[in-house]
């Protein structure tokens, strides 16, 4: 019979007290595991979402706002950039994909962000190794990506929240309907042609419409005089001749086209805008090679039209500035909780020592060395802490398993309850150290037991 077995028998003898003691450790560890895994999911989600594109190009201003708005649909859109600039940059030989995004509208139901884009958007991986797929509630439905101006594809959360499906229609609201009365409903109606499979990204809560359709919405055109003024200002900034800028034709001068509407009745019939009056909010860039990304970024940033930011870099900055500190604070708090649980283990073992002096004296009388009884008490402390810790790891993951569907429903975050964080590997050795410290004092009490006196008592 080894010392661990002897320690285990003693724990079993005080089953209720031992169980409660281990439970307090388990709860502390479960809390820590939950925070770690949740943080891991958030971290992964943010970074992977941000890692889908090499650069985001948008109006000059706050780089973080550009990333948060473009990739995470968070906050108000930044200023727009000319569509012509998009067309120019698309021709850059370093670029594999340049995808324009136009934002500013939301859905009436649920206030989901409407994003105007091009079909190519769905062909590019949104995270490394992950492409958009369709969510088919009914196998008979034929989903497709947008191909005509007034077609829309919706994220899975939008479909669930608004109970929309293929064939459902909606009218965009300009801006966000926050009750201030500033927002107004557009007359144009979009038809849903596809529902995206859950991605675990903010795009689950977005509605994607064809960029042409977005431009056809009344009020989305840049006034001709403003567009001309902006173009001339940019020409001056570039050191070009502002008089060489071509004045855009007004929409009424344009050929009216019904073909672009795909045959739908949308109330209004606006023809395609001249490119000079079109604007996009951002351009997602995927470079042909990672090596050229910094060069391209520098080239874009050197010019007056726009800025190029690395979404991964911005998210890393955000995490290191704010979220990492929150995590650190949480970890410190939880470590304190575990230490308090450890104190509980200490109190439990220490209190039991007065009842166990005789038991220890008997072992000593049978030939157990002082070191052996010290080790038995230390083993008890380690078994309680490590046992509680392992139970806590399991409990933490079970808690996440139970909460995952709710979190996914509320936030769109897809959580794998069994994803382990590397820090968890440190937990158990950490608990062994804690338990060893905790077991020292009761262990020394056992070590110093007066055998003859304890046997006589």
């Amino acid at each position: 019979m080894n010392l661990i077995t002897i320690a285990w028998k003693s724990i079993r003898q005080r089953a209720l007290a031992s169980m409660l003691t281990a439970l307090s450790v388990a709860l502390g560890v479960a809390l820590m595991v939950t925070v770690l895994v949740m943080y891991g999911v958030i971290d992964q989600s943010f970074n992977q979402t941000a890692s889908g594109y090499d650069l985001i190009v948008g109006a000059k201003g706050s780089p973080l706002q550009l990333v948060l708005n473009t990739v995470f649909h968070f906050g108000k859109p930044v200023e727009n950039i000319p569509y012509l600039y998009y067309k120019e940059i698309k021709e850059n030989p370093r670029i594999a994909h340049a995808i324009p995004l136009a934002m500013g509208d939301t859905t009436q139901e649920g206030g989901f962000r409407i994003v105007g884009t091009i079909p190519e958007f769905f062909g590019v991986e949104y995270m490394p190794g992950k492409k958009y797929g369709f969510y088919r509630r009914d196998g008979a439905q034929q989903d497709k990506f947008i191909s005509r101006p007034f077609e829309a594809v919706i994220g899975s959360s939008v479909a669930r929240a608004n109970n929309w499906d293929i064939g459902s229609t909606f009218k965009p609201v300009h801006g966000v309907d926050d009750g201030s009365g500033d927002a107004h409903v557009h007359d144009e109606e979009f038809t849903i042609v596809g529902v995206l499979a859950p991605t675990g990204t903010p795009n689950d809560k977005a509605v994607f419409v064809h960029l042409d359709g977005f431009f056809m919405i009344e009020g989305h055109e840049k006034p001709a005089d403003e567009a001309a003024a902006k173009a001339k200002a940019l020409a001056i900034a570039r050191g070009e001749d502002p008089d060489a800028v071509v004045e855009p034709k007004t929409p009424d001068e344009e050929q009216h086209s019904t073909d672009a509407h795909g045959g739908h009745d949308h109330g209004h019939h606006h023809g395609p805008l001249p490119d000079e009056q079109k604007e996009v909010t951002a351009i997602l860039i995927r470079c042909k090679s990672e090596i050229v990304t910094p060069q391209l970024q520098a080239v874009i940033n050197d010019r007056p039209e726009a800025q190029a930011v690395s979404p991964v870099g911005q998210i890393r900055n955000l995490f290191s500035l704010f979220i990492d500190n929150v995590r650190l604070l949480l970890l410190v708090l939880i470590t304190l909780i575990i230490v308090v649980s450890g104190v509980g283990v200490f109190v439990s073992i220490y209190n039991s020592m007065s009842d166990r002096r005789r038991e220890i004296a008997i072992m000593r009388a049978l030939g157990a060395r002082r070191g052996s009884v010290f080790s038995i008490i230390l083993s008890e402390s380690i078994l309680l802490c490590v046992g509680g810790g392992l139970a806590g790891v399991l409990l933490g993951h079970l808690l996440i398993l139970a909460a995952a569907p709710y979190i996914e429903l509320q936030s769109g975050l897809i959580i794998n309850p069994w994803s382990f964080e590397p820090v968890e590997l440190v937990l158990i050795p950490g608990l062994v150290v804690l338990a060893s410290l905790i077991g020292m004092v009761p262990g020394m009490t056992a070590y110093r037991t007066d055998v003859a006196k304890s046997l006589a008592n």
């Binding site: 019979m1 080894n2 079993r12 038991e359 008997i362 009388a365 030939g367 002082r370 046997l455 006589a456």
Partner: protein, 224 residues
């Protein structure tokens, strides 16, 4: 010689700081395989003597030799191991551990002697004391007599050369007294184990050829 005590002295310090002599044994010896009963008044130092012999308590002076080894010259850890290997102990209150079954109590005694693979011997011993059918029972599930029989099995588990028994029959009924005493004596005889048994029972003492009065060879405080 199995046991030799030479000039062994032991005192305790009382709460008021005065020294209270308990043992002063000039000479005491036990031959190999000999069975000796030790009688004496309560508080006369019988238990202290057994504790000094086993090394549980250190003597203030003198020499305690078991099988020719001087326990008083040994470091504590070595003395503990020596006790586990060579000295069996049967207590008046049995001193079984409640968390362990009868078999485990015997195995526990063996484990401190580094004898971890002796399950068959432990079973054999428990069968020998008539508890082969109670191996998995914990002390609380055993009668007083059965508990003491487990204690006897435990004391013999490491094949000691000296068995110390401190009033082993004091807490059991008359029928069990005879059984336990018989068990102890037969087991010692079979294994050539020296026995020093402390008792205050004249009936028990009467069964031994050699009976020693503690007061005759222990003169604490110079009471000659």
């Amino acid at each position: 010689m199995s046991l030799v005590l030479t000039g062994v002295r032991k005192s305790y310090i009382e709460p008021d700081g005065t020294k209270l002599p308990i043992l002063d044994v000039e000479h005491f010896a036990l031959n190999k395989g000999e069975q000796v009963v030790l009688v004496g008044e309560s508080g006369g130092g019988k238990t202290t003597l057994l504790n000094v012999i086993s090394g549980i308590t250190s003597a203030d002076a003198g020499k305690v030799e078991v099988d020719g080894y001087d326990l008083t010259a040994m470091m504590e850890a070595k003395r503990d191991r020596f006790r586990a290997e060579r000295i069996g102990f049967v207590f008046q209150t049995f001193n079984l551990l409640d968390a362990f079954s009868a078999l485990e109590n015997v195995l526990l005694g063996m484990s401190f002697a580094g004898n971890s693979g002796g399950k068959s011997r432990a079973k054999e011993l428990l069968e020998r004391v008539g508890l082969g059918h109670r191996l998995g029972h914990r002390p609380g599930m055993l009668s007083v007599g059965e508990q003491q029989r487990v204690a006897v099995a435990r004391s013999l588990a490491n094949q000691p050369s000296l068995l110390l028994a401190d009033e082993p029959t004091a807490n059991v009924d008359v029928k069990n007294q005879e059984t336990i005493l018989k068990l102890i004596r037969e087991a010692c005889r079979e294994n050539d184990v020296s026995l020093l048994l402390v008792t205050h029972s004249q009936d028990v003492a009467g069964q031994f050829e050699r009976v020693e009065q503690l007061g005759e060879f222990n003169k604490p405080g110079g009471a000659k």
